[in-house]
């Protein structure tokens, strides 16, 4: 059972910058010195957030983009409340993979909210890379989804906004909040029982 209220999973092909996005959001930093290294399996981070004066803890699963882990990724998005699918506007290939994830999520986790996230905005703005994925296509796709953000983990642009929107959306969702309240209750119940047991054992 998870101790986090909301489970958010990051998907997307390798090298689009999922880990950098999480590190920017959770630790507020971006290290340009560290060379790229692929994520092994999946990494988990938790962070406390506020929405409408209420506190929530969110758990973020940063999955590996490598194809090797594709079959495994299902473990990570099972039961996720929200998914961020990342792509690089300058890589058509990453966009093709995004459609794969979208399809996968729709069939396996249809209640999961889906957000698109274009990464490395700074490179695009600075003219270091050329856009390969047309904005119109992205807009058409994101219409049916819960949101689209173009972010830069280097400058931090739009990163907090993305996660804030997700938490706001989830907190406003009656169905989601019902399960959150239930599991919170269950956890406190369990904790109580556990601490009682511990006392007895001594």
């Amino acid at each position: 059972m998870s101790r986090c209220d909301f489970k958010i999973v990051l998907l997307g092909s390798e090298h689009v910058g999922k880990t950098s996005l999480v590190l920017r959001f959770v630790n507020c930093r971006f290290n340009a010195e560290i060379p790229y290294q692929n994520t092994v399996g999946a990494a988990f981070c938790a962070k406390a957030m506020r929405s409408k004066e209420k506190d929530y803890s969110i758990g973020i699963w940063d999955t590996a983009g490598s194809e090797r882990y594709e079959a495994m990724t299902r473990i990570y998005y099972r039961g996720a409340h929200a998914a961020i699918i990342c792509y690089e506007p300058s890589s058509h290939e990453s966009w093709t993979r995004l459609r794969h994830w979208l399809h996968e999520l729709r069939t396996v986790e249809d209640s999961c909210k889906v957000y698109l996230c274009g990464t490395k905005k700074d490179l695009l703005d600075g003219g270091f890379v050329k856009r390969e994925v047309a904005e119109e296509i992205v807009n058409t796709y994101s219409q049916d989804l819960n949101g689209h953000f173009l972010t830069s983990s280097k400058t931090g642009e739009n990163v907090d906004e993305l996660f804030q929107k997700i938490v706001d959306d989830l907190a406003a969702d009656v169905e989601v909040m019902k399960t959150v309240t239930e599991s919170r209750l269950l956890l406190t119940e369990l904790d109580k029982r556990k601490s009682k047991k511990d006392v007895c054992a001594c």
């Binding site: 998870s2 290294q37 092994v40 399996g41 999946a42 882990y69 594709e70 495994m72 990570y76």
Partner: protein
């Protein structure tokens, strides 16, 4: 000036052994590791016949554990859910990779550029090349250069192997030239080749290739690897190995430098007995109720701190080496808790264990691995980890680990040669056979490996430089020949004493241990024997610190 004695070990050499029924330093009755010989691997490799190169796997240890747990599970619903879950994902993984394989474009056109490329500075004058290709001749990995441009070379390798296989019904093992050895290993759907100008023997090279193969199995499982190539012989495995070249790169460097591979043993982080006990207790008291947990392993700087296991199961040193390599080569474990499938080829090559991997805390670079057969156990294990870290902090274990890692001068194990007080000994390494653990006078420090790797990235070239002061890496390099003679299958040596103008090296193997010592040159035999005697007594005295002397279970 080498003298080798096969049978008649001088009487007095046995002195430290026959002191009553005392065990040799480091030995204990229960071992967490399978006692092994790295050379056994080679022997079994060499005895394989042509037909057996198609790898078949025996029963799966992982499913054995799963069914055992399920038998005792009270909830029958859970039982059904679990087993079907496994089937689904196994099939799922295959259909995913199979469908992808259809998308691959063929790129096998060799041109004349290939030949020029073989002469490029990226490839010439390297001490050791390693190539991995599929039996269909598709390049998978090259230690140097770009394997894409090596399609021609891979074609030649594949042709060599298959001609000998088909026309002579034989296996191509080595090609030796004046200054170079080429060693071939065909394993299942893969061909692995090492081309080396180093002083490593064919045996040692085969062992390294086996490790490289196991590294790939560890990422994919043998089942998946075999199935991929059964379905599509021409599959480009690099798709599935994306990002994993790094692991093979690091492993190759690690194997050349660390005696752990030469000896088939694991190095432990020297710790006060009490500290290690506290760490082990923190793990056992926290985890004894987590039923699917198979191993809890704590490591720091390529050294083992403790290993707690499920009853009946032990680990092979080679599996631990792969875990060391994974941890050391992956930055992503440092920033967050990770949950990843890991296959341990010696433990069970057919399936994945699921690993919770995390560092104990920001101020202590010890890494904890919790390996389970249950894929949904992340939250449970994450909580367990935090409890363990908390208990360790309260028992002051983090300080003890940091002292050992920072090589605090006050510890006798930091500079053992100073403590032993035999000035003629320049370097030694000792392996306790029954527990597969090793200790050496100067553990190869991680920083130095890092350094080496940086230099290696640029080079790996053969250089003729005058070595003025030997590093620990150079000592280990010198022991290779001796190690090989001691493990020679036809005429194994028990004791070798060789003096040269540079140094005197003694290597000695008994039923219980292997010992390699480098002395000053002109060291006389009986003087050396006395020194070894004192050395062994020191190791015995310190054994509780430098070795793990028990085999805790959950």
């Amino acid at each position: 000036m080498a003298s080798t004695s096969n049978d008649n070990v001088p009487q007095h050499m046995n002195a430290p052994e026959n002191a009553s029924d005392e065990l040799e330093p480091g030995a204990c009755h229960d071992s967490i590791l399978n006692p092994t010989d790295s050379f056994e691997e080679f022997a079994s490799e060499m005895s394989s016949s042509l037909r057996e190169t198609c790898l078949t796997t025996k029963s799966s240890t992982i499913s054995e554990i799963q069914s055992e747990i399920l038998e005792t599970a009270e909830d029958p619903k859970l039982k059904a859910a679990k087993s079907s879950d496994d089937l689904q994902t196994k099939d799922g993984s295959m259909s995913a990779s199979a469908s992808n394989s259809n998308l691959i474009e063929e790129n096998g056109d060799d041109t004349d550029d290939d030949k020029d490329y073989l002469q490029s500075p990226e490839l010439v004058n390297k001490e050791k090349h390693v190539f991995i290709l599929s039996t269909a001749g598709k390049p998978i990995y090259s230690r140097y250069g770009n394997e894409d441009k090596l399609a021609g070379l891979c074609g030649v390798i594949q042709a060599l192997v298959s001609v000998i296989e088909e026309q002579n019904q034989d296996i191509l093992r080595f090609i030796n030239t004046k200054d170079c050895k080429a060693v071939f290993l065909v394993k299942g759907p893969l061909i692995l080749v090492a081309v080396s100008k180093s002083n490593e023997s064919e045996t040692q090279l085969v062992l390294q290739l086996t490790y490289a193969f196991n590294q790939i199995v560890s990422l994919l499982t043998l089942t998946q690897l075999n199935r991929i190539f059964e379905q599509r012989r021409n599959y480009d495995l690099r798709r599935l190995l994306a990002g994993a070249e790094r692991l093979i790169d690091h492993l190759l460097v690690f194997m050349e430098k660390d005696p752990a591979f030469l000896l088939g043993a694991v190095r432990c982080l020297p710790l006060p007995e009490k500290a290690r006990e506290n760490i082990t207790n923190a793990i056992t008291t926290t985890c004894h109720k987590i039923r699917d947990l198979v191993f809890a392993i704590m490591i720091a700087g390529n050294q083992l701190i403790t290993l707690v296991r499920m009853k009946k199961y032990t680990l092979h040193p080679s599996d631990i080496h792969l875990l060391f390599n994974l941890i050391r080569s992956s930055e992503s474990f440092k920033t967050a808790e990770s949950w990843t499938p890991i296959c341990l080829p010696k433990f069970d090559a057919t399936g994945f264990l699921h690993g919770h991997v995390s560092y104990i805390s920001e101020d202590c670079q010890a890494c904890l691995l919790l390996l389970t057969v249950q894929r949904d156990a992340f939250t449970t294990l994450s909580q367990a980890k935090h409890t363990i870290a908390e208990k360790m902090r309260r028992a002051n274990c983090l300080v003890a680990i940091n002292n050992a890692l920072n090589r605090n001068e006050e510890l006798s194990t930091t500079k053992p040669l100073k403590h032993i007080g035999i000035p003629e000994i320049r370097h030694f390494m000792y392996k306790c056979k029954s527990t597969a653990q090793l200790f050496s006078s100067d553990p190869i420090s991680l920083d130095r490996l890092q350094d080496y790797r940086l230099r290696h990235k640029e080079g790996g070239d053969i250089v003729d430089k005058k070595i003025t002061k030997l590093s620990d890496i150079d000592y280990v390099r010198n022991y290779r020949k001796f190690c090989n003679q001691i493990h020679c299958v036809a005429t194994p040596a028990k004791l070798i004493f060789r003096s040269s103008s540079q140094d005197t090296i003694l290597s000695w193997v008994t039923n219980g241990f292997e010992l390699y010592v480098t002395f000053d040159p002109l060291m006389e035999k009986d003087h050396a024997i006395k020194a070894v005697d004192r050395l062994l007594r020191w190791i015995k005295k310190e054994e509780e610190r430098i070795f793990i002397m028990n085999a805790p279970t959950f």
